[in-house]
Each structure stands twice: as C-alpha cells, then as structure tokens.
C-alpha cells in the first residue's frame, strides 16, 4: 500500500459516524447552556480533523495494520528482552466481552465480584511465582512497576527516619534503563556497576559502592546477557548488611517460572511484566501491567486500592497510612490482568515450568546454531549456557565488512523478521539480543537462523545491499537527521505542514 497520511484523505462534508440525536425537549430545556461562560472559553472553530466516510477510515487503518509486523505474523525472536511470545486469542476473546469492557471502575464492589476475584487470584499466583507475600497489580507497565518499587524503597526509609541519610541506589549497566531512571526520579543518586571480565556484575565493585548511604540495589538476573549471576545472594546479603533494600527487576522472568524465585535470593521487592512473561499482547506498547511484589515488611507501603477477601466477598480497600498513595488510575489495566489470569489458568504449575524449560532450551539451541555463523559471537562466559536470551555481538563481521548490527536489522525486515540491537549504551559492540521464548518451533528457529546466516553472507558478498536496506518494506531509509533538528522535526502533521510552508523541508 502507498497509503497517504490521514489528513490527505479528508473530503469536507464526509462523516465517519453519526451521533445520537438530542431529543427536542432536552434541546429546549438546555437552551444556551454555556452562555454564562466567558467567550474565550468557547471553541470558535471546529477542530481541523480529517473528514472521511467510515469505509475510508477503516480501509486506511486496515492498510496501516498490514504495514505493521505484529508478533502474530512473524517469527518474533529478534526482539530480545521483550519476551515476544504467543498471546492466545482466547484470552483476548474473553477480555473483549462486555462483562469486562463495560465495567466502570467506580461500580459498587458487589457488582464486580468476578473482576475482583480475578485480581485477587492473579495476585496469589504472582505471590507464589515470586515467593513474595503481597502484590499490587495497579502499575500499568513494567517501568511504572519499577517506579512503584522505588517509591516504596523511599517510603520505607522515610518510615525509619533514614531517608536523608540514604540517598544512593546501586544498579548495573545491564539492568533496564528504567531501573536507573526511576531511582533518579524518586530522588536518588545512581551508582552503576559494570560487568567483570566474565560478564557478571562486579561483586567487588558492589562492595566498594555500598555504604550507609545505600538505599537499595536494583538489579536484573539474568541480565540482558542471559547469564545467571550465581552469586546474587552475596549481592543481596551485602546490601542488606548496610541496611539497604534489594529490588529484583523481573520484567522478564521467562526462564525462571517454577525454577527460582526472588524470595530464595533474599529480595525485598520485585516486579513482573504481564505483557512479557505472562503472555498478554504487547499492543504496540501497552496497555500493560507490572506486578509489584514485596515481602510482608514492605506491604504497608503498597499503593491503594487493594483487593481483600472476606467471607467469600471481595472488596477494594484504600491503601494504608504508610501507602505511597496512587501509582495510576483506579485498579490498573484490568483487561490485561484478566488475560494473564486466563493464561496462567490454562497452564498451571506444570505448564509454567514447561514454559521456562522450553524457552531456555530454545535459547540455548539458538545460541548453539547462531555461533556457527562467521562473524557472530556471544561475549562473556564462554562455553556457559544462557537462560532465556543472549546478547550477541557482530563486531567481527562489522570489522570485516563495515556492516553494522543496526543495518543487519534493517535487512532482516526485508525477510519479514523483527530484529533489535540492544539498549544503549552499546557496551557489547555491534550488539544483538535474541530471545526465542517457548512459543517458537525448531523450524521457526531454524528459519530465523538461516536468515541471519544469509545476511551475514550478503554482508561479505554484497555489503551495499545490506547497508542500503530495507528494500522490501513499506518505506525506505528515512532522513533521520531531521528528527534531531528543532527547525525541521515534525511531531504532528500541522507542525510539518507549517514548517514545510515556512522553510521547506527534506
């Protein structure tokens, strides 16, 4: 499709949908209901939205959808850290029924007993999977859950009168950017630990960093390298020893369900992304849910409202006196909670464990095969197995051919595959993070591997082909420098049109 920007499709007078009539008696009674407002508070001109028939609106968005490579459409293993797995359609179907979609969050508890039961039961599952004591599902994404956890760390130290003294949070460079960012946001100085020669977070560096100023350690394990840090308990104990809390970023726990938990490693807080490990759709980037899990000691700080059961009746109760307050509106993204609940209830304990076992098998199979490609390596911990993903490096290929990891990704798109380099900074040169999850068959994995091998071959035989990719996508290489130029960026169509008129572009 060569689909225009929607404003270019406007035909004055066309309507996409009609509104219900206002009954004459209402119109009469209402009169000029806003006449008392200052004129400056009344809109003078209708918004300049496109005017389109319903058919054309639909066609436009259907075409855009076909120009979007959803996980349903491809072997989506190249988007590492994101846990792209199969999102069962039954869960969507269940969540798209009126008994879910038409619930108002302020309805009396007695009228939402089913919904509250789902929340309570999924909280119970999260408790068991993490080993923690209490859970809140209010956060609408993983980063918001991290923020909630950091807020609870702050509230905890405040409750103990140590807030002023403890102003540092320690994290690692291979933990998610939001771990560092959220610590900063709630007011902490961030200390970042780098890996040692084997790729593990440097325990000596941690020991050097901790002090009575330490509020918390925020860490992922395995980190984005997929290498499990065996000494995690030592990290946790060291931080606890100086009075800090330990926060486990389990956004991606896909390799550890029923295998290992935050509890046994001694953590005080952790979180899961339901849209990763628990199979809710990524939805172009949300809605989503981050499950905030904590020990009983931290429970008083959880955001409200909380679901409580009493005599088989569920009710929402406000957060306690020490609660951090609200993290987001109402009880969070309930439709996502329902989907995750359905997923868990379809798999059970054996199924969850099978998820992790096969995700890890797939990952190690993938690594075994990818490392046969000349020019690709898996830095750190040579010969060691990985958990659910691997951070690879194309440095050797890039040195030999000039083709970068990013360009390999653009070329992969020509084969109908997603591919992602890695979070910044690129500590591993020319990085690629591949996470096959449990959802893909051996045949699927082999297909991905063969594309990687093919592109690596192209890089050597015809590097220009790769360096000018994509060739087979809905659009071609963008003039990216405009996006960083305030004079030329166009964040809305109106801004683009204005700038185009004022000074030309491109």
């Amino acid at each position: 499709w060569d689909e225009p920007v929607i404003f270019e499709l406007s035909q004055p007078g066309e309507r996409g949908i009609l509104l219900p009539e206002v009954e004459p008696e209402i119109a009469r009674a209402a009169g000029q209901a806003l006449a008392a407002l200052p004129a400056s508070m009344r809109r003078q001109n209708p918004p300049r939205l496109p005017e389109m028939s319903q058919n054309r609106v639909l066609r436009h968005y259907l075409r855009l959808s076909q120009e979007t490579l959803g996980a349903d459409l491809n072997v989506d293993v190249g988007q590492g850290t994101c846990t792209m797995k199969y999102n069962p359609k039954i869960n969507d179907q269940l969540a798209r029924q009126p008994a879910m979609t038409e619930l108002h969050p302020r309805q009396p508890d007695s009228t939402v007993q089913g919904m509250l039961e789902v929340i309570a039961k999924l909280e119970g599952v999260m408790c068991e999977v993490s080993g923690m004591d209490t859970v809140s599902l209010q956060a609408r994404g993983g980063s918001q859950a991290i923020f909630a956890n950091m807020s609870m760390v702050r509230a905890w130290h405040e409750s103990r009168g140590e807030a002023a003294q403890r102003d540092e949070v320690i994290t690692t460079i291979f933990s998610h950017p939001s771990d560092a960012a959220c610590a900063k946001l709630v007011g902490y100085k961030v200390i970042t630990i780098y890996p040692d020669a084997d790729g593990y977070p440097d325990l000596e560096a941690l020991k050097a960093a901790i002090s009575p100023r330490t509020a918390a350690l925020v860490i992922t394990n395995p980190e984005d390298t997929g290498i499990f840090n065996s000494r995690i308990r030592e990290f946790v104990d060291a931080v606890h020893a100086v009075g800090g809390l330990c926060v486990y970023d389990q956004a991606n726990a896909n390799g550890l369900l029923g295998i290992a938990r935050a509890r046994e490693a001694g953590f005080d807080l952790c979180h899961f992304n339901l849209h990763k490990t628990f199979a809710t759709p990524h939805a172009c980037g949300g809605p989503a849910v981050g499950a905030v899990c904590c020990t009983a000691a931290l429970a008083p700080f959880l955001p409200g409202p909380l679901v409580r059961e009493k005599d088989g009746c569920y009710q929402l109760v406000p957060g306690g006196a020490q609660s951090i307050g609200k993290i987001s509106s109402f009880a969070g993204a309930a439709g996502i909670i329902l989907r995750a609940y359905a997923w868990v209830m379809n798999l059970g304990a054996d199924g969850l464990r099978a998820v992790s076992e096969i995700a890890v098998l797939n990952n190690n199979y993938m690594m075994h095969e990818l490392l046969k490609i000349d020019g690709m390596s898996a830095p750190y911990a040579p010969g060691k197995r990985r958990i659910e993903q691997v951070r690879y490096s194309w440095k050797a290929l890039c040195d030999a051919t000039g083709v970068t990891s990013e360009e390999i990704g653009f070329r992969a798109a020509d084969f109908g595959l997603h591919y992602w380099t890695s979070h910044h900074p690129y500590l591993v040169p020319e990085p690629a993070t591949i996470e096959p999850t449990e959802s893909y068959s051996r045949t699927d994995l082999d297909e991905f591997i063969s594309v990687m091998r093919h592109i690596a071959g192209e890089a050597r035989s015809n590097p220009d082909l790769v360096k000018t990719a994509p060739h087979n996508c809905p659009t071609h290489r963008v003039q990216g420098e405009m996006l960083d130029d305030p004079e030329r960026w166009g964040i809305t169509w109106r801004a683009y049109q204005r700038k185009l008129g004022e000074r030309g572009l491109a």
Binding site: A36, Q79, A99
Partner: protein, 460 residues
C-alpha cells in the same frame, strides 16, 4: 506434562533432538548456574489449570458472569472514566492481530504502527491546537504528573500550585511522582460556584512557582476562566498546565487559545471501553518550543522524507531526551504504556471529524443541563454549583433528603441504576454529595428514569 499448544517444542521427540543438538542431557543443565539454595524444591502451589480452551472459557465466563456491567444497567458514574458509545471500527482496528501484537519494531517493518501513532498525535494536535503531542503515557494522571515535572525542569523552580477541585487520586499520583523535586500547594475553590478562588490563588503564586496546574473542566464538572488563570500564572513566570477532557473540546476552547503552556489529559473517552479502568491513556501536548520539547520523557514520533522522493517515513524525535538513550540522565523514564489506546483514539477522531466532535460535546452539554434542571426539581435534592456552567458532570447534594449517598446509591442499585460517585469521603466539605455524569449514551428517557427512580427512593 503433555505437549501444550502454546509450547511447540514440548513435543518430547523434538525436545530431545534439540537437547542432543546442543549436547545437553536435560534442560536441567541450562540451570546449572543457579545455586541449589535458590532453586524451587517443589512445584508452584497455584490452582489446578483448565488445560482445554473449552473449560478455560467456561471457567472465566463463570467469573465474569458475577459482574454486572454498564451496558445492561443505567450508569451515571464518571469521575475520570466515562461511558461512551465505542464505534465498532475502533474495536475492529485495535483488535487487529497486527496492532494487538506489535511492539518495538523499526520504522520499516512497523511503518504502519509509526504512522498510526503519528496520525493520532497529529489529530490530537488539531483538537488541542498544539504542534507537539506525545505517544501516550499510562493515563491522564501520569500525564499530569509528568507535565508539572516538565514545568519544573523548564523553569528550574520547585513550587507547583494545584487547583483544589482536582481528582484526589490524581493529586496523590502527582505528589508521589513529583515530590523529590517539587513542592505541591493546593489552591482553594469557592463553595458556591465550584470555581477557583482567584484572590487566594494570586496569593499562592510566587516567583518560585514552576506551574499552576488546573483541570478544565474540573473534577466537579465546573469550568474556570482559563485566560484569567493564564494571566495569573504568567505574571509570576510560571507555566499554566491544563488538564482537559478531550471530549469537551468540541465546545470548550482549546487551552492553547487562552494561554496554556502544556496541556494534558486522558484519552479513554475517545473510543476506548472503560475496562474497569483499563482503558485509560495519557496525553501531553505543547507548542513546538524546543526548550519545552526537550523536557518530554515520552516518545515523540516525527514524519520525515525517505530516500524515495515523495515517500513518508517516521522516526523518534530527539531520542536523546529519553531514558532509553541516557538512562538516569534522560527525562524521567519511558516504557510500555498505552500505545494501542492512542491508535484507537486516532481512529475515533478520524471517525468523528470536526462535526462529530462538536455534536458530541454539544449533546453532552445539553444533556447535562437538562439533567441539572430535572434533578434540581426533586424534593430534597440540590445541585451544588447550580449557578455555574458544567460539562458532563456536576455535584448533586442529598442532605435535604436526610439520607446518606451510600443509602441512596444502594437503593438505586436495586433498581438497576448505578448512581453518581459518592464524594462524601474525598470532599467532606461538600457533605452528602455525589458526582453525576452524562454522555451521549443517555436518552431523555434514561435521565427521566433516573429522576423518577430517585424520587421513589427518596420518598420511601
């Protein structure tokens, strides 16, 4: 565990062949780095599963049947989440597998996702008459919390004056989110009018003030004079930040027109089902001032030419602002939030068009006005800010009936009506009051039925 449909390589023969291929005796080998003390010893203690889709569906449907929902009841609940008709095309588009399961692809493989979100931002820009709109954040509360942080960074000041007729939950979010770097002060509102006390406000605004934050319409449905607020804020060098119900902009002036510097709100009313609060999504908008733009933590998508003349491409604007690029040195943080609702709101705005948005808002104003008149006629019932204009919501006081709101709502519920949100806890000064909300879903008959039911309930 038998082969599960979601886990293809759980087929024993395949699993074993793959183990052989990588030279592992069992999957246990992959977990060799996990110390025994950290390993779970038994199975997870979670409920027995419904392995078949048929039984799973029956189980979940059974739970959902315990709910009563607004499509089968008459509801006048609002307070931040609103019942509207959701066009079928909105559901069709956000139900598309491609959009539902896409995530973080590049602007090439996910061209459609970038375009759809860019168009959403662009249509919001027309509604708001502003040039910059972000890819959605979690909800309107998050948007509000971020806008005042943006104002703090932009002005280098700590003080934030917040209009007192704010949703108390939103205030709680803002405070927890901002308090490391901001100090919050509440500006009182007039009891009779439900509008901000301008004299008191002037006393609160000072040269340390980063922003005046106000919702228009307020949580109580009243509509302050934006130009006066802008003048007051700007007089001390503070930014005016306005939280707005996007639906209201069919009749109310876009805040940019009366001087707002940053505008935010929730897109849930734009074609998204209530989902027990799961339909929220936050927007932030401003003019195309680079000094402001660089304060956004969110992703901003921009349109650019490509190597093919006449072709459009899309990409991230000023990515270096973000925590994705700079970790703790980026603005706040960014992550998965509510993008699908952004796409959906775009579909909604395209369906409505200019005329639809005007008709939608006008119809709501008319129904609200009609309901005010009808309710005020019920003995013992008083419309608290009767002299003010309202959009969509207003406060109804029941003290004259001698009954608490809780009792009235319980009685309404028995008649199949969800009464207005009980304000007696959050706004004790309003006494036994409730917030009633109206939209295009309500017919005259519905409003009349509400009144008749209330009369009956009160009369008993």
């Amino acid at each position: 565990m038998a082969t599960h449909p979601y886990i293809p390589n759980s087929v024993p023969e395949v699993r074993d062949a793959m183990l052989r291929a990588v030279g592992a005796a069992s999957t246990e080998e992959f977990f060799a780095d996990i110390p025994a003390a950290l390993r779970m010893q038994g199975p997870l203690a979670i409920p027995a599963p419904h392995l078949s889709e048929a039984r799973l569906k029956r189980h979940v449907d059974g739970l959902l049947r315990k709910n009563t929902h607004c499509a089968s009841q008459l509801s006048f609940l609002g307070g931040g989440c609103y019942q509207h008709h959701v066009p079928a095309v909105c559901d069709e588009v956000n139900g598309r597998s491609e959009f539902a399961t896409a995530y973080a692809g590049e602007p090439y493989d996910d061209h459609g996702r970038f375009q759809a979100l860019f168009e959403y931002c662009s249509m919001m820009g027309e509604l708001l008459e502003m040039d910059v709109v972000n890819v959605p954040v979690y909800d309107g509360m998050q948007a509000a919390a971020t806008t005042v942080r943006m104002a703090g960074r932009h002005t280098g000041r700590r003080r934030v004056v917040v209009a007192g007729h704010i949703n108390p939950d939103k205030l709680a979010v803002m405070q927890n989110y901002g308090r490391a770097d901001l100090d919050f002060v509440l500006a009182p509102f007039d009891r009779a009018s439900g509008l901000l006390d301008m004299a008191a406000l002037a006393g609160l605004l000072d040269r340390d003030t980063a922003a005046l934050y106000v919702d228009i319409p307020s949580f109580l449905g009243t509509i302050d004079d934006g130009a006066a607020l802008a003048a007051a804020a700007h007089a001390v060098g503070a930014l005016l930040v306005v939280g707005v119900d996007p639906v209201s902009l069919g009749v109310l002036a876009p805040p940019a027109s009366y001087g707002a510097d940053i505008v935010c709100g929730d897109i849930q009313p734009l074609g998204i089902h209530m989902n027990y609060g799961g339909g929220q999504g936050g927007f932030i908008a401003s003019h195309d001032d680079p000094a402001i733009v660089m304060q956004y933590p969110s992703r901003l998508f921009g349109v650019v030419p490509t190597s093919v003349p006449g072709e459009y491409g899309f990409g991230d604007v000023a990515y270096s602002r973000t925590s994705f690029d700079k970790r703790e040195n980026g603005n706040e943080f960014v992550g998965t939030a509510a993008a699908l609702w952004g796409i959906t709101a775009g579909v909604f705005l395209a369906l409505m068009g200019p005329q639809g948005m005007v008709e939608l808002a006008t119809g709501i104003v008319q129904r609200t006005a009609y309901a005010k008149q009808r309710l005020a006629r019920i003995p013992g019932v008083r419309v608290t800010h009767e002299g003010s204009c309202h959009f969509r919501e207003f406060v109804v006081n029941f003290e004259g009936t001698g009954l608490p709101v809780a009792a009235i709502n319980a009685a309404l519920l028995k008649q199949g009506v969800f009464g207005g949100h009980d304000l007696s806890t959050d706004f004790p000064a309003l006494g036994q009051s409730a917030l009633y909300a109206f939209s295009e879903v309500h017919t005259q008959e519905d409003i009349d039925q509400l009144c008749a039911t209330l009369e009956k309930v009160i009369g008993q």
